[in-house]
Symmetry: C2
Subunit: 133 residues, 2 copies
DNA sequence: ATGAATGCAAAAACTTTGCATGACG
DNA sequence: CGTCATGCAAAGTTTTTGCATTCAT
């Protein structure tokens, strides 16, 4: 269960951390903003501050439990890290998000950074699409 | 000059708009945050409020004069729209922005959208990098 | 017990908005 | 002249931080 995951990450088993991890794991929802998580906690009657939500999600990110995406409207979303990296495709009409992964693109990105004298630390690739007509 | 561009965009010829467009056009700097533009105005002794800078840049965006990029540290940069597409690489230490363009990546993106039954409308690719050590 | 974690409120950083004044056409 | 644009300050958003208190081990 959640406790072992937290222990493995070197995090103390606290109420907020267990609760937040449980929420992330027991939902179909994949992408959570801090606010989303906070509201879900409220609904469950949990008394956790928004500051703690941010702190815990950031710790989870450091621990590799979640991945943080900074979407372009300037707010972050978090999703459980399944170990497989992927990028996102957003349907401009429906708002639907599709995940995809392409080794070739990943490879080229590293090459490009390298050519410019940099190490690639992270990247963000989002395709904005519409259903074929 | 600037006036005709503004007229073509249906924007009244006002002092702040002319000044800001002039700054963008007469500089080697490509990427401007609102704050950057504001500081440049101050240096020129212009008395323009930061709110106006944001308003004008947003109008320029609507008019297709500039492109807005939302970087993931939660602030926007604007650049003159030259019509040629390119992607960005951001140095996480210095904040420096490098432009690049890779046909192969562009091609693959179209293929991916296509495979999923979509048309690619737009995309955003940002590489976050650090100088090689 | 003791150091880490939490909640609260306040601060920070960036951007938008309300409103009275001033400028453009 | 009638709008539209501007400046200022105040409010909004999202996220972080300081600090006293509470909790896990």
């Amino acid at each position: 269960m959640e406790n072992s995951q937290l222990k493995k990450a070197g995090l103390k088993i606290t109420h907020p951390r267990v609760k937040i991890l449980t929420i992330l794991e027991n939902s179909d929802k994949r992408h959570w903003s801090a606010e989303d998580v906070f509201k879900e906690l409220m609904l469950s009657g949990e008394d956790v501050g928004i500051a703690t939500v941010y702190r815990v999600l950031t710790q989870f990110e450091s621990a590799g439990i979640v991945t943080r995406h900074n979407f372009s409207d300037g707010h972050s979303v978090f999703e459980l890290d399944h170990g497989e990296h992927h990028d996102h495709m957003v349907d401009l009409d429906s708002g639907e998000v599709v995940e995809f992964m392409n080794d070739e693109i990943e490879k080229i990105q590293h090459a490009i950074a390298d050519e410019h004298g940099y190490d690639l630390v992270d990247h963000s690739l989002v395709l904005y699409v519409k259903k074929k007509s």
